[in-house]
């Protein structure tokens, strides 16, 4: 169990660096996919709400240190992990791999939208209107994050769930 936690923490650090240095540059209309939301969704669905919040909080600290506004990123990660935890699948569940994946997609969408909303309320460097920022860009970011989750599913997660 402790080994798994260390592996997940290492993955969290890697995902955060990839997000800050890589994915955040793949912008479409000022938005970029949120790799951290995909990781939060995976951890919250498999390990539960508390794990989702914890990883969101730690991911927020790292993101905040690398790009400024640490408190806001911590809050966004915590709330994103909490929201994604609503889709938790208990260990003894008989859910099929496809049902688990559907839950991960739903959790990803919710985590991405919640995190985006918190960050949008907290900072607005481009001076965009609140409705446009939260609704339009929020939905676009959710869509981009779902595409990223889909790609992650094809490359990594599918293997995890079929095992």
């Amino acid at each position: 169990m402790a080994r798994n936690i260390f592996i997940l923490l290492a993955v969290l650090v890697a995902v955060t660096f990839m997000q800050v240095l890589g994915f955040s540059r793949l912008t479409v209309l000022y938005t970029a996919p949120d790799a951290l939301a995909v990781f939060l969704a995976f951890s919250a669905v498999t390990l539960g709400r508390n794990a989702g919040m914890g990883f969101g909080f730690l991911g927020g600290i790292l993101t905040g240190l690398l790009s400024g506004a640490a408190g806001l990123h911590m809050l966004a990660g915590t709330l994103g992990g909490f929201a994604a935890g609503s889709f938790h699948i208990p260990r003894d569940s008989h859910a099929t791999p496809s049902q688990k994946m559907r839950r991960i997609y739903a959790a990803t969408a919710v985590a991405a939208f919640v995190s985006h909303t918190v960050l949008s309320i907290g900072e607005n460097p481009l001076g965009l209107s609140p409705a446009y920022r939260i609704v339009v860009l929020g939905l676009l970011e959710t869509l981009l994050t779902l595409l990223l989750a889909f790609a992650a599913n094809l490359l990594i997660l599918k293997k995890t769930f079929s095992d």
């Binding site: 240095l21 955040s24 905040g64 240190l65 690398l66 408190g71 607005n124 481009l126 965009l128 860009l137």
Partner: protein, 280 residues
């Protein structure tokens, strides 16, 4: 007691949520303090270092185009240098009369843009020059084409720049032809459009006029091109003036850092902290 622990176990997610939210809000509140600001600056340093290393790979792949661009930039700089030298000679003659050395004559330093982010979350440029290279907060950042922004944060080896296309950025400008003054700002949306505020409808400002930085600015070197007027629409009291920024922010590779031109006494009169009087 058992009842209390029962409640805690039942609602532990909410307790943890409240705790983490509280810590996050506390960190948000103290973020501007000295120690957290230093930690954030160190984080930006690490990010800039990693971005620079990653950027070097892409840089090597496009070195031929980059060389071509630098050659063109050099030729433009040479033209400007010749013009500046003739102006300098005139200035020297004046100086001999006035026995003073204006700060604008000090040398500009060159910096490479190692990271840039233009999104609805972050909007900044990171330069590979910091405090050890003589960079200070509020220095003017420009290219031969015009104004880029101002330095807002400085670490030992890197500095962070708030560009003209940031909703909090404002700079005092004057028209090169009609002498109309105003305040250049950016209101979000398109990166190739900015606005001039406080231009009265009685002003003779016309399309095509170049807007330059003024002596009124608390940070910018005067005479730097900011943009060219592309439309003037009269309103009730003030005109809505749209300009096209002189700098193409999507193609920034190298920038110049102008030495601080503001005078401490002037800033004190305006109620702003003078350079060196605040933490950087």
């Amino acid at each position: 007691m058992n009842k209390f622990f029962g409640l805690f176990l039942r609602y532990n997610s909410w307790v943890i949520l409240s705790l983490l939210t509280g810590i996050s809000l506390f960190v948000t509140a103290i973020e501007k303090n000295d120690v957290p600001a230093k930690v954030t600056t160190a984080g930006s340093d690490l990010r800039a270092y990693l971005a620079e290393r990653l950027g070097s790979l892409g840089y090597l792949l496009h070195i031929k185009e980059e060389n071509q661009r630098l050659l063109q930039q050099n030729s433009r700089l040479l033209g400007r240098l010749l013009l500046a030298e003739s102006a300098l000679r005139e200035q020297n003659a004046l100086e001999r009369l006035q026995h003073a050395t204006p700060p604008a004559m000090q040398r500009f330093s060159v910096a490479r843009v190692v990271d840039r982010t233009f999104s609805d979350r972050e909007n900044m440029l990171l330069l590979d020059r910091g405090r050890r290279d003589g960079v200070r907060k509020d220095m003017t950042v420009l290219t031969p084409e015009g104004l880029v922004g101002r330095v807002t944060r400085v670490s030992a080896h890197y500095s962070s720049v708030m560009p003209l296309i940031h909703s909090d950025f404002k700079v005092s400008v004057v028209s090169s032809a009609s002498g109309t003054t105003g305040l250049a700002s950016w209101e979000g949306g398109r990166e190739d459009l900015a606005y001039i505020e406080h231009v009265p409808i009685s002003s003779s400002l016309a399309e095509g006029e170049e807007m330059l930085t003024t002596d009124f600015s608390t940070f910018a070197v005067p005479g730097v091109p900011v943009g060219r007027v592309i439309s003037v629409k009269p309103g009730r009291l003030f005109s809505t003036v749209t300009i096209r920024p002189s700098v193409d922010f999507s193609r920034l590779g190298y920038v110049l850092l102008a030495p601080l031109s503001n005078e401490p006494e002037k800033l004190r009169m305006l109620g702003e902290p003078a350079p060196g009087e605040e933490n950087q």
